[in-house]
Each structure stands twice: as structure tokens, then as C-alpha cells.
């Protein structure tokens, strides 16, 4: 059901862990939904120098966290903000339709972490899309309560 890339990132997840004194932390998801992602960013001169995650969730959730942290590393905040859920899913060589929400969660986690950093810095927050509204395809199942 999963692409080789997803399986690779699931079995060998990159960047697992926490960053002590992270510059930005994004916590998204809900245990009731079956997935929670915590994203930790280290930011220097507007550039993400390190990214880590901890995730409770299915294979796609773990692989999406892994890929998302890979994708934002080394990027400026502006660039990182543009890393969409689609970009995550594509980098994973696709996700099953019912798993698209995992990539959405990863995007949200990055956004939350960046805004947490901006808040700390006293910078104006960037506008986050509504959580779980990224679902342009009508494909991503989202956990609604």
C-alpha cells in the first residue's frame, strides 16, 4: 500500500528526537485521531539549521514527519513556509488517498513551529491555513470531532 519511499522513511525515519531549547516547536494532531506530531526547529539567521520530530501515528504519519523535517532543513523560513503537504507527499512518491491528512499534519506542524519562533521573536505571525482545511482534493480524510 505504501511506496518504497514511504517505507524507507517509516523504517529509517530521519531526524527523530527533540531539540533542547528549540527555537520553535509545533505540536499538532490529537491522540483521539490516532496521530500527534511534535516538530522542533533550530533557527539561525532566518534559516532552519536543524529539525526534529516526535510522532505518534501510522506509517504515513511517521514518514511524513521524517520527510517534512528533511525538506525544511537548510531552508529560510520563507522557503520552509512554502513546503506544502503536497510537496511532502510527492517527495514520498505519493501517499494513499486516505493517508493524505498525514502530510497535512506535517505541514501544519512546520507552520506552527515557525510561528512559535516568530512569536518569540516578536515578529508578526504568518497566516496559517485552518488546521485540516488543506484538503483541496477532497481526498484527505480528516479526523473530525
Amino acid at each position: 500500500m505504501y511506496s518504497d519511499k514511504v517505507m524507507d522513511h517509516f523504517k529509517h525515519p530521519r531526524n527523530v528526537g527533540e531539540i533542547e531549547n528549540a527555537d520553535g516547536v509545533g505540536e499538532v494532531g490529537n491522540p483521539v485521531c490516532g496521530d500527534i506530531m511534535n516538530i522542533y526547529l533550530k533557527i539561525e539567521n532566518n534559516v532552519i539549521t536543524d529539525a526534529k520530530f516526535k510522532t505518534f501515528g501510522c506509517g504515513a504519519a511517521i514518514a511524513s514527519s521524517s520527510m517534512a523535517t528533511e525538506l525544511v532543513r537548510g531552508k529560510t523560513l520563507e522557503e520552509a513556509w512554502e513546503v506544502s503537504n503536497k510537496a511532502v507527499a510527492e517527495a514520498l512518491e505519493g501517499l494513499p488517498p486516505i493517508k493524505m491528512h498525514c502530510s497535512v499534519l506535517a505541514e501544519e506542524g512546520i507552520h506552527k513551529a515557525i510561528n512559535a519562533y516568530r512569536k518569540k521573536q516578536g515578529l508578526p505571525l504568518w497566516e496559517e491555513k485552518n488546521p485540516h482545511s488543506h484538503d483541496e482534493d477532497g481526498e484527505g480524510a480528516t479526523c473530525q470531532h
Binding site: 505504501y2 523504517k11 527523530v16 505540536e27 490516532g34 511534535n38 510522532t55 505518534f56 504519519a61 480524510a141
Partner: protein, 400 residues
């Protein structure tokens, strides 16, 4: 069971079983040689007819039924649908109330939901934390509009075995037809439809080393029921469709073998299961057994591991060659995790971390050792990357 190069440990026998060799051998001649349509009158068809009669007698014997109370169907789901809709439509004038439980298989629940849209009233009985239905609750739920009680014999997820004889006696007392989905029970529990007051019973061959695509609905003589599949005169005019002879032969042989020595079989499987279960409990903290400690299917283990999610567990286990299943919604594409686990009162977030291991005939001590070796690694690997686990250790975001 070993397959090819890589070790495969199949512990998902409640999902389906392989076909036993002796069952397949019995089936083979009916594909190419004795293939005649039993409705025909020539000798070639006589072989098919005889084979079906034999299988019918085998199934009847396994249930304590008469052969002419056994109707072959295409699967457990068809049997459930037929029993429920057939009784509902045939008795719609008497009443419109059906009693079932919250932990039935979807083949029962979704059929009831369909009937609810058509104006039937459905009562879903609750279960206790072990998944047991309380007979006094059943009796309380009966009204003068009740036309059917349908309660599963043994639950497919948590393995809990219901007090069927007691429930059947209550149904009989109130003269309400009593159906039981015994798909998971065959070969694991001695069944006697007469002693247990069962009026209709569903079973499916692929759960006891028979082929997929063939099942039985037992219908007690005199039960008023509509057909589900209309057409030719097969199955004494009650279930149309040219008979799946090879499949029926396979079912007959498989049920005979599965019920020949239930106690002996259970003893072996239960010993393996109990060693596996206690091993897991000893090695992995924050683990909870779902279902009843004793009143459960001999091969069934269902455990929830806190802080992790089921699908990711399955993927890792599969990577090691271990086939298992979970009640997490993440495998199914539905939003809700297992309705069975929720009905036992398990919190949603914990039910996401459930693992079902169901042992069967081909499992060995070596299989148990292997799972005891690999499963703890998988659980701790996933917990290591779980933010909930960290929360737990630091007393933070505690799920409970």
C-alpha cells in the same frame, strides 16, 4: 509457518486461514471431473448431488442440526444478511424491532443500519468491559414488537465468547427467532443448535481451514424467512445460484475436521497462546489485555499498547514476517477505531494502539518465541519516537 526464504509467522487466523491440504485435495476433483450441475438428471450430476449431500450432513453434524436445515451460502456476510433481512421482511407485519449488540461484526451491524433506514427499530445491547452481553439486559430489551434477536457467538476482535445458551433460552421463552453469527466460533466452541436454542446460525468456511467464498446459514425447520437470493430451485428453493460444489465439498470436509476434536485442538492452541500472552505481558509495560481473561477464543490475543498506534506496529511486524491485525482506524480508512474496543469502554486513544494476534493450527513454539523476540523491540522503537511516551515518562501529556 515458513514460506520461501523469509520466515513468515502468520498470526491472523481470525482474518482468514489457508486451506488445509486434505480439504483442498477433497475439492480438486469437483472442478474438472465431477463438475455436473446438480440440478441436472444425468449421472455426471449425480456425483455433484452426492457430494453436496455429504457436505450438508457434515455441516449438520457439526451443529447438531438436521441436514435439511443447512443452507449453503457464499460467505458469512451473506448468511448474516440473509438471516437478518430474511426474518425482518418475512415478519414485518408482526413487528419491527430487532435486538443486537454493539460488538457485532459489520455484516450484522451494517445490515441492521440498513433496516433502520427502512423503518425497523434496532436496539444495540451494551457489553461489559470484557465484551460480555448481560442476559438480563437482553430480556429487558424485548418488546412485543421484537421479531429477531441476533447476537454473535464469539467476537472476532477481542475473542469474547457470549453466553449463547442463556441468551437463546431467553429468546425461546419469548418465542423470538434467535440468530447467532458463529463465524469465529466454529471449531473453537462445541455448538449444539438444539441444546442452545439457536434458530439461525451463520458460519464461513475460510475461518476454519476451508475455502473462501462459501458459508452456511442454518435455519431451524419452521422458521419464517424470506429468501435473499431469488431464482432457481437450488437449496430447496431457498438460495438460488448454481452450487459452488468444490467450495461446498471443502466446507464439509473442513468443518468435519475442525469439529472432530475441539477440546484437543483448543488445548494445543491455548497453550501456545497463553505462553505468548504471558510473555508479552512480562516483557512490555503499559499493555492491557482486551476481552475476557477466560471466556475467549483459544487462539485470540488482543492487547492495547499505550502511546503507540496500531498500523505502525503492523508495518514493523510485517517487516519481520509477522502477520497480525489491529483495531486502529488507521488501517481501515474509517475515522472511528474499532467499535468493539470502544464498546468495552477502552478510551479512543488507547484503542489506536491495539494489536490482535490470532493463533492457528500451523503455529509452533518457535513462532511464539519469534514474536516474543520481535514484538517488544517494535513497541519500544515506536514508543521511543512517540511524544506521548515522553509525556508519560515526564508525567506530562498523559493519555488515560
Amino acid at each position: 509457518m515458513s514460506m520461501g526464504e523469509k520466515r513468515t509467522v502468520y498470526m491472523d487466523h481470525s482474518a482468514t486461514t489457508y486451506v488445509r491440504k486434505d480439504v483442498l485435495d477433497a475439492m480438486i476433483p469437483y472442478f474438472t471431473e465431477h463438475f455436473g450441475n446438480p440440478s441436472s438428471i444425468y449421472h455426471l450430476a449425480g456425483d455433484s448431488k452426492k457430494a453436496i449431500d455429504t457436505a450438508r450432513a457434515q455441516a449438520a453434524k457439526a451443529l447438531g442440526a438436521e441436514p435439511d436445515e443447512v443452507y449453503f451460502t457464499s460467505c458469512g456476510s451473506e448468511s448474516d444478511n440473509w438471516a437478518i433481512k430474511g426474518i425482518a421482511y418475512a415478519n414485518g407485519k408482526k413487528g419491527n424491532h430487532i435486538i443486537t449488540t454493539k460488538i457485532e461484526h459489520h455484516a450484522v451491524i451494517h445490515t441492521c443500519e440498513y433496516l433502520a433506514k427502512e423503518g425497523f427499530e434496532i436496539t444495540y445491547l451494551p457489553v461489559d468491559k470484557y465484551g460480555l452481553v448481560d442476559p438480563t439486559e437482553l430480556e429487558r430489551a424485548i418488546t412485543d414488537k421484537t421479531i429477531l434477536i441476533t447476537i454473535m457467538y464469539a467476537n472476532n476482535e477481542i475473542g469474547t465468547i457470549e453466553p449463547i445458551a442463556e441468551l437463546g433460552a431467553i429468546a425461546r421463552k419469548h418465542r423470538i427467532p434467535f440468530h447467532t453469527d458463529a463465524v469465529q466460533a466454529i471449531g473453537n466452541v462445541p455448538i449444539d443448535v438444539k441444546a442452545q436454542n439457536i434458530d439461525l446460525l451463520s458460519l464461513s468456511a475460510h475461518k476454519f481451514y476451508g475455502p473462501k467464498g462459501v458459508g452456511v446459514l442454518y435455519i431451524r425447520k419452521g422458521t419464517k424467512i424470506d429468501n435473499l437470493i431469488h431464482g432457481g430451485g437450488q437449496e430447496r428453493r431457498r438460495r438460488a445460484g448454481t452450487e459452488n460444489i468444490a467450495g461446498i465439498v471443502g466446507l464439509g470436509k473442513a468443518i468435519e475436521l475442525a469439529t472432530a476434536d475441539i477440546e484437543g485442538h483448543n488445548k494445543r492452541i491455548r497453550a501456545l497462546r497463553d505462553r505468548l500472552l504471558s510473555g508479552i505481558m512480562a516483557k512490555i509495560p503499559h499493555a492491557y489485555l482486551n476481552g475476557h481473561p477466560e471466556k475467549r477464543l483459544p487462539g485470540n490475543i488482543n492487547i492495547s499498547f499505550e502511546f503507540i498506534e496500531g498500523e505502525s506496529m503492523l508495518l514493523w511486524l510485517d517487516d519481520e514476517g509477522i502477520c497480525a491485525s489491529t483495531g486502529s482506524a488507521c488501517t481501515s480508512g474509517s475515522l472511528e477505531p474499532s467499535h468493539v474496543l470502544l464498546a468495552t469502554g477502552l478510551p479512543v486513544e488507547i484503542s489506536h494502539g491495539s494489536l490482535r494476534l490470532t493463533l492457528g493450527d500451523a503455529n509452533t513454539d518457535a513462532d511464539v518465541d519469534f514474536v516474543l523476540e520481535e514484538l517488544p523491540k517494535v513497541v519500544s522503537r515506536l514508543r521511543e519516537m512517540s511524544p506521548l511516551y515522553k509525556g508519560k515518562k515526564e508525567g506530562g501529556c498523559n493519555v488515560q
